[in-house]
């Protein structure tokens, strides 16, 4: 190779680029944290052992977590770490490689693409390639993604490097380049894994298509399909070690990946709806100028117009087809990166979300960002060459100097490390660069020595499972738990990781029920508590994120945390530097990872509140089955009595409205497909006309129409009877014979009237259906209240949508009146009966068997509010009384002697004396000048009457009733609640109702108080501050407490099974494999495994090989390959998330001692794939070396 002055220049630039990251860090500093933790730079071997090599997550409940794709990259990092020693240098080295190789590859690509025969001016040729290379590494899209970069960030240099190798292959047909390409795909497999699928599919298919067309149309050569086929096969074999387990997971129904790719929730709710919500913020103009989306613009950004200008000038004088072809692909990528290219373009983009897996592009602008940057670079490089060729020499140098200056000034914050060492989001000026505290390293060493059994709870708990560790230099780590990733101990670092136990835990903390907290920790297999007492990781450094929700219930300062911990039954194991503490949970509470249980409890319904079974259980006696998971033998069965009474259906403030349809709409009213979808809707309704779910179908369609109006209503016109409220309302509410499908279709299908007409018809038809039904009165009442619930749910959503048009929007003003009129008429047509306390009843289902005795329990906390002087429970005519009210029991048993609880019956709550909070209502008149009412300051505006109650109980139900009349001026009812948890006692508005009636009218509203509620206010006043309701009259006002206690029926097996409690010990071979030894086994029992349920956990008969606890590589990894799993049909989902096997020693030849191997079988696919991939990799490596030497010869 001839060395020219340009070769030297390129070498110097590459060296400078390589060196830049070394100046970012002071000795010992690292940029760790973020979603991928980047702890693999700090300790790649630990990361490999604890995360990548095993398919079970090291944190939380241990869900299946496929990170195998990291293995080759981690081995590479480990090799460099071994050579270098310092993680700081390792990070700088990889950053340097990223920048310099990206530059070199882009430089080489541009040179390859510019037709060499035309390179009359060598300086124009070289300068355009150099500037293009610098454009790639220094443009805005490139420099803003370096802080806490994910492992997929290697795409920054891999994209141009891989493109270069492929380009060389397509130009020269030398298979050697493909071999190098394939070897690199193995080493950097994270970039070719499912985790990197969006960036992979955004770049490689487009690039390969470009290269194929380049070879055919520019070079005039044919594609060598044999090479292509071999390369694809070799690629798949090289990636087999992570692709095979991923495919198994992908096609396993119910897996996270399967749900994301194939379910409608994954495709539309998480995919399309997210795409639709962010798409309006993405600007084509910014992408054309290669600027970052959704960031604040600076002066320098405006100068980036020079790049599209040069590209356009380049095309004006272009005579080279390569540039034209690159232009086509640039536009394709620009389309995918921006989405907002014409309405039809946007519609096509949306249709792509129908393709399974396309939802990975929901965050499209980021995922196509690097592909856009790359194609902009090769386009710019070639265009610059054309421009430089056209201009005089002095202008040529001037232009190059301007471009270089612009790129350098733009990249200066990147060059000096400012963009990498950012302040951690919402922290108190704490930076990303951190130096690991030697005392914390000491703590990590200590944690590694703890026994294999037992999970760790980390305090202070965060929201999302992040952990904060402050560095010795004042910086901090914020990312996934360092304990689990670096020590391999399973832990909970955030409240969200507690899953379904999250709310129970927070509730117990709030109630300061330390005994129950101890029990819960023990039941969750939490043996240790790690407490980081550093104020910098809590209130001082991170006053908000990541503790926003956790702080609402947990202690707010480190001082309070110490106090909280001192109340728990914990034994301190160690203390390091008065900052790091490790405690042990008392043995009396602790439940092992594996434990035997000989009793099964069965809940007939899906358990919504896990505090119910937890409160009935004792440690080691907690095998709970629910719903369809019926145990082989149920020793105790529970039925939570259904509270599906009308009070819950007609809540003014449902949260969340789970019983209502949350429909999704994806066909825009402007679309040609819209009319066919309306016809389909009509046909569906006709089909359901006589079916039991006709009302349900109608309500679903109404929710769908509302959703469509929320999405597109702003742009939809008000069509025919323009702005005539009465005419619109009359037509919409007209009787059915006046309106038919043809009427609706004849109207512009994108008008509000067309939508509202169909919306209203769903309600009127449902009401008619109820009226004409032959069902009993009770059923009719229930159905009417259900429809009323939809009306209550939909009305505020309509008003919100309309208010979004703007305050003075004429269409909005008309529509708000129309909507109010519609709902007013619909409620009147429903003709709802008054809410009565007598409607507060529970239904007792009939028992399947008569052999079991049933007993009735009420939750003690509910009983406290359920004052017997005011309320009684009755079944039929018989009044029920508590059997015993002992303080230590969580549940109070009722005396049901003489009542046959095995038959279907209704349990009524009779209100002897309603608990009316407004009995002595003392309303205060307030005005804008009122100063003596403290709470008035938090009201929207001050007028009318004001009333406050302190008796407001959290999580309770109340009915507000009154009769009213007002002659002309409408008035408003505002209901406020005060939050008791937050420090500032924020007042929030629960609902507003605008009322108006010229005759005495009864108003009723059911309200549920918040779980943190402390007090409530009612304000009755004018509709606006200017219109006080002076002519308003109100009588018979009341706010009545409606008890909704948790009531459970317990069925005890009349013939309890014999007690057989074997002894269980286990050895953790690694996180996917355990050896379990059972002794003293004399009868069937449940073997409970306190890890997240997965059907791929399988039991095998154990061999006699000796095993040790650890997380090392299992030498006997093939031992179960030919073994048949044991007790597969009796593998159950228990305790809401755990595994249990019903072990009957008869099936083991009545042995009293035996051993099992428990294995997560996904791990086997990894081992098989790894053998294939490593074999192919070594083969390719040797073959490449052979080709290299043969070539040199």
């Amino acid at each position: 190779m001839k060395i020219t002055k340009y070769t030297v220049l390129v070498g110097i630039i590459s060296f400078i680029l390589f060196v830049i990251p070394f100046f970012w860090f002071k000795p010992g500093e690292m940029d760790l944290g973020g979603d991928s933790s980047r702890l693999y730079f700090y300790d790649p071997i630990a990361y490999l052992k604890n995360y990548a090599f095993y398919g079970v997550s090291p944190s939380g409940f241990g869900q299946e977590n496929i990170g195998y794709f990291m293995v080759p990259f981690l081995l590479l990092l480990s090799f460099f770490k071994f050579l270098i020693g310092s993680p700081t240098t390792l990070i700088a080295l990889f950053n340097g490689i990223n920048v310099s190789i990206a530059f070199l590859a882009c430089y080489a690509i541009v040179k390859e693409l510019i037709d060499t025969k035309e390179k009359k001016l060598i300086n124009a040729f070289e300068f355009s390639a150099i500037i293009a290379g610098l454009f790639y590494v220094f443009s805005q899209l490139a420099i803003n993604s370096w802080d806490k970069a994910l492992y997929t960030h290697n795409q920054f240099f891999l994209n141009p490097l891989m493109f270069l190798l492929l380009l060389r292959y397509f130009k020269n047909s030398k298979f050697f380049y493909l071999l190098i390409f394939l070897i690199l795909t193995f080493i950097f497999s994270p970039n070719f894994s499912f985790a990197a699928a969006p960036s992979f599919f955004a770049f490689y298919p487009v690039s390969i298509a470009f290269l194929i067309l380049y070879r055919i149309y520019i070079l005039g050569k044919k594609i060598i399909w044999k090479d292509a086929l071999i390369a694809v096969c070799l690629f798949l074999l090289l990636q087999a070690f992570h692709i095979i387990p991923q495919l198994v997971s992908l096609f396993s129904p119910g897996s996270v990946l399967n749900t994301t790719v194939f379910s409608d929730a994954g495709k539309f709710d998480r995919g399309l709806s997210y795409f639709i919500s962010i798409a309006p913020n993405i600007k084509v103009s910014l992408s054309i100028m290669n600027l970052q989306q959704m960031t604040q613009l600076h002066f320098i950004d405006y100068l980036f117009i020079i790049f599209p200008l040069i590209i356009t000038f380049g095309f004006m004088y272009n005579k080279n087809k390569t540039l034209t072809l690159a232009g086509v692909f640039f536009l394709i990528v620009l389309f995918f990166a921006t989405a907002n290219i014409t309405n039809i373009g946007f519609e096509i983009y949306k249709k792509l979300f129908d393709i399974p897996g396309f939802s990975m592009f929901r965050n499209f602008f980021g995922q196509w960002g690097y592909a856009l940057l790359f194609f902009s670079t090769i386009l710019f490089g070639q265009a610059l060459y054309v421009v430089l060729m056209k201009i005089k020499e002095r202008y040529r140098y001037l232009l190059c100097a301007i471009l270089l200056l612009l790129l350098f000034v733009n990249a200066f914050p990147f060059i000096n490390g400012f963009l990498v060492n950012k302040v951690i989001w919402q922290s108190n000026n704490i930076h990303v660069f951190m130096k690991m505290d030697p005392q914390y390293e000491k703590l990590l060493r200590y944690v590694r020595t703890l026994p294999a059994d037992g999970k760790i709870l980390i305090f202070p708990l965060t929201d999302p499972g992040y952990q904060i560790v402050s560095g010795a230099n004042g910086g901090a780590y914020q990312g996934p738990s360092t304990i689990s990733y670096l020590t391999g101990k399973q832990d909970f670092s955030g409240i969200q990781e507690l899953g379904m136990f999250q709310n129970i835990f927070l509730d117990l903390v709030k109630k300061k029920d330390y005994e129950k907290i101890n029990q819960l920790l023990g039941q969750l297999n939490i043996k240790y508590v790690f407490y980081n007492a550093d104020p910098l990781v809590y209130e001082k450094g991170f006053p908000s994120f990541p503790y926003i929700d956790a702080r609402k219930s947990l202690p707010k300062t480190q001082k309070e945390y110490r106090e909280f911990i001192s109340k728990l039954s914990l034994r301190q194991l160690t203390e390091i530097d008065k900052k790091y503490f490790v405690y042990e949970v008392g043995d009396t509470y602790y439940t092992q990872l594996f434990f035997p249980d000989n009793k099964a409890q069965y809940y007939a319904n899906e358990i919504s509140n896990w505090s119910v079974p937890l409160s009935f259980n004792q440690p080691g006696d907690q095998t709970v089955f629910e719903a369809s998971q019926v145990p082989p033998v149920a020793d105790t069965s529970f039925v939570e009595l259904s509270k599906n009474n009308i009070f819950r259906n007609v809540l003014k403030n449902p949260d969340p409205p789970v019983y209502l349809h949350n429909a999704f709409a994806k066909t825009e009213p402007y679309s040609l497909l819209y009319k066919p979808s309306v016809i389909k809707e009509y046909i569906t309704l006709q089909r359901h006309k006589d079916s039991f779910n006709y009302i349900d179908q109608r309500m679903f369609l109404s929710a769908k129409l509302l959703y469509a109006l929320e999405l597109w209503g702003q742009d939809m016109p008000l069509g025919y009877e323009k702005y005539n409220i009465n005419e619109i309302s009359r037509t919409l509410l007209a009787t059915d014979d006046q309106r038919t499908l043809e009427w609706e279709l004849s109207h512009a299908n994108n008008s509000w009237e067309s939508f509202l007409s169909r919306y209203v018809r769903n309600f009127t038809e449902s009401i008619d259906y109820i009226e004409n039904s032959s069902e009993d009165k009770k059923w009719k009442e229930q159905q009417k209240f259900l429809i009323y619930a939809y009306i209550l749910n939909h009305k505020p959503r309509f008003i919100n949508t309309i208010e979004g048009f703007g305050q003075s929007n004429e269409k909005g003003i008309v529509l708000e009146k129309v909507i109010n009129k519609i709902f007013e008429t619909l409620i009147a047509r429903l003709d709802l009966p008054s809410l009565k306390e007598s409607q507060n009843e529970y239904s007792i289902p009939a028992s399947n068997t008569t052999t079991q005795a049933r007993s009735l329990y009420m939750n003690r906390n509910d009983y406290k509010q359920f004052s017997p002087e005011n309320f009684t429970l009755t079944i039929g005519e018989k009044e029920l009384f508590p059997d015993s009210v002992q303080d230590e029991e969580s549940w109070i048993k009722y005396d049901t002697s003489g009542i046959d609880l095995s038959k279907e019956a209704a349990l009524e709550i009779i209100t002897k004396k309603p608990k009316d909070l407004m009995e002595k209502a003392d309303f205060i008149s307030i005005s804008p000048f009122t100063n003596n009412v403290k709470e008035a300051t938090s009201l929207e505006w001050r007028n009318g009457l004001f009333w406050k109650t302190k008796e407001w109980q959290p999580s309770s139900y109340y009915v507000l009733s009154f009769e009213y009349i007002n002659n002309s001026t409408p008035f408003s009812l505002r209901f406020y609640e005060e939050d008791a948890v937050s420090n500032t006692k924020d007042t929030k508005i629960l609902f507003i109702d605008h009322l108006n009636s010229k005759v005495w009218t009864k108003y009723q509203a059911v309200i549920r108080s918040d779980k943190d509620a402390d007090a409530a206010f009612v304000q009755i006043g004018g509709d606006t501050v200017e219109s006080p309701a002076s002519a308003l009259k109100i009588k018979n006002i009341s706010l009545v407490y409606i008890p909704q206690p948790n009531i459970v029926l317990k069925e005890d097996n009349t013939a309890p099974s014999d007690i057989h409690t074997p002894t269980i010990s286990f050895i953790k071979i690694n996180s996917t494999k355990y050896k379990i030894t059972v002794t003293n086994s004399h009868g069937p029992f449940y073997l409970v495994f306190n890890q997240l349920f997965n059907s791929r956990w399988k039991l095998f008969a154990a061999s006699n090989s000796l095993r040790e606890n650890g997380n090392g590589f299992d030498k006997h990894f093939l031992e179960t390959f030919n073994e048949k799993p044991l007790f597969e049909s009796s593998h159950h989902f228990v305790n809401g998330n755990e595994n249990a096997w019903y072990i009957d020693p008869k099936e083991l030849g009545n042995k009293t001692s035996y051993s099992f191997i428990l294995e997560m079988t996904t791990q086997r696919y990894f081992y098989i794939g790894l053998i294939i991939s490593v074999t192919v990799f070594i083969g390719l490596l040797f073959y490449s070396i052979y080709r290299l030497f043969r070539h040199e010869k």
């Binding site: 054309i288 200008l309 232009g327």
Partner: protein, 112 residues
Amino acid sequence: MKIFKNKYSSHALTIAKQNKTAVLLFIVLCVIGDIFFISGSSDIRTFGFLGLTIVSILIYKLASKLLFQFCLILLIIMFWEFIFTGTSEVTEKAAVWFFLFFATGIIRQWKE
């Protein structure tokens, strides 16, 4: 093209050819008018004007250079609006028109 063999269409073609400047000016004004004076976006309008441009390319055998020159104007409009209004509706419309004319220019250049 067969359509131009028809007596009426060939007459229309002759008129169009005689008024090349007026037709091209009309297209330019339509696009600029759409950017500055018409709020909201309509595909019928956008693809109507674009279709007219493509027909003009066929009739007048316009070179891609002319289309890229118009792209330059659109870029300047986009930039101007970007400075004074940020990523406003007008800026975005100019950007979309740039995309469409750039795509048309590239296709034209490929055929040249």
